[in-house]
Amino acid sequence: MDDATGSVLEALCRYFPSEIARAIHASTLRRARLDPGPLPEDGLPDFVSALEQSLPMYIVDPARRSECIGAVRRLMPAYAGDEPSEPNGPVSAMVRVRSAREVLQASDTARQTARRVGFSALDQTKIATAVSELARNILLYVGDGEVHVTVLTSPRRGIEIVAVDSGKGIADVSLVMDAGYQSRTGMGMGLKGTKRLMDHLEIATRPGAGTTVTARKFLS
């Protein structure tokens, strides 16, 4: 009987750092009541259904979650021919931001989109961080808003992040972008830091009329 452990780990490692992939693998084996040792191929169906139950703890975004499940499921001979779902992913995605969990979800969505566009791992991290900053600003200062993530194709390939809220607006944009600015919540680097991580950032705001931050980064 072939041991599927290596290929399962390989699939999980595409979605998680290796140490986390191993931890998920071990806990899924327990959940599926499978031996902690080698995973026989006929154990895969139980493994996949256990993974479907536990994966929401690790991947918030449903699309990415089903991609990850699909990657493991295709290790079963019966599913080997299945096409990966939406290899290019949606061109645009929106995440409503009202909670800390949704901040993570916005960031995760941006990272996956960045990966699909072809950004390097470093740029994916920068983009995920930038989106986390923007989404967190919405949560901290307004409490409700939206983050839109869009793939740009022309004139250059890249990613566009639009963070929208209908809060009080920013009274003095030049102040929050000033080098010496210190906010009450963070380290005063939120918007400034985000601008440095992206190629382009503009803020449209009016007191009482909300704020729209548009940030773009292009493939070099």
């Binding site: 750092p17 140490e19 986390i20 931890a23 929401p56 703890m57 690790y58 800390a100 969990r101 993570l104 960031s107 995760d108 990272r111 791992a121 470093l122 994916q124 991290t125 920068k126 995920a128 961080t129 986390s132 900053e133 967190r136 901290l140 919540t185 963070g186 380290m187 005063g188 680097m189 939120g190 400034k192 830091g193 985000t194 440095r196 991580l197």
Partner: protein
């Protein structure tokens, strides 16, 4: 989804391995749990290992720093270990630092550093007593 971050006792140091993205609630609980454990266990050092963290925004960075500084205020040396290259590069590019907090490449070096700090401390205490005698 209510994941508590584990706190591991290792050679009278507390090790906190943070995995994945840190939820704000988990971070707040962690601050509470760690300070309680420092007092209850009489821990000598604290290592916050972030090798499993994929990114840190300014808010999460501030929380980490606050946790380390709180521990230090309680008299416990605190070290942040295992920042991934992409995370470190991103923090520097944003202009974020973790001032006042020692960082090491990995958990092993963090424990080595804590050990040497604790030896130094013990020596300083010993010399202090010698002066009086």
């Amino acid at each position: 989804m209510d994941v508590r971050i584990p706190i591991i006792d290792l050679y009278s140091n507390l090790v906190v391995p943070i995995q994945g993205a840190i939820d704000d609630d988990a971070m707040a609980r962690l601050q509470h749990d760690v300070t309680q454990r420092i007092q209850a266990d009489g821990a000598r050092g604290l290592v916050i290992d972030v090798s499993g963290v994929e990114f840190l925004d300014s808010f999460m960075t501030k929380n980490l720093r606050d946790l380390a500084l709180t521990a230090r205020l309680m008299g416990v040396s605190a070290v942040v270990s295992g920042l991934r290259p992409a995370v470190a590069i991103t923090l520097v590019e944003m202009g974020l630092e973790i001032p006042g907090v020692k960082t090491t490449l990995n958990l092993e070096r963090a424990l080595e550093l804590l050990l040497s700090l604790q030896e130094e401390e013990a020596r300083a205490l010993g010399e202090g007593e010698g002066d009086h005698g």
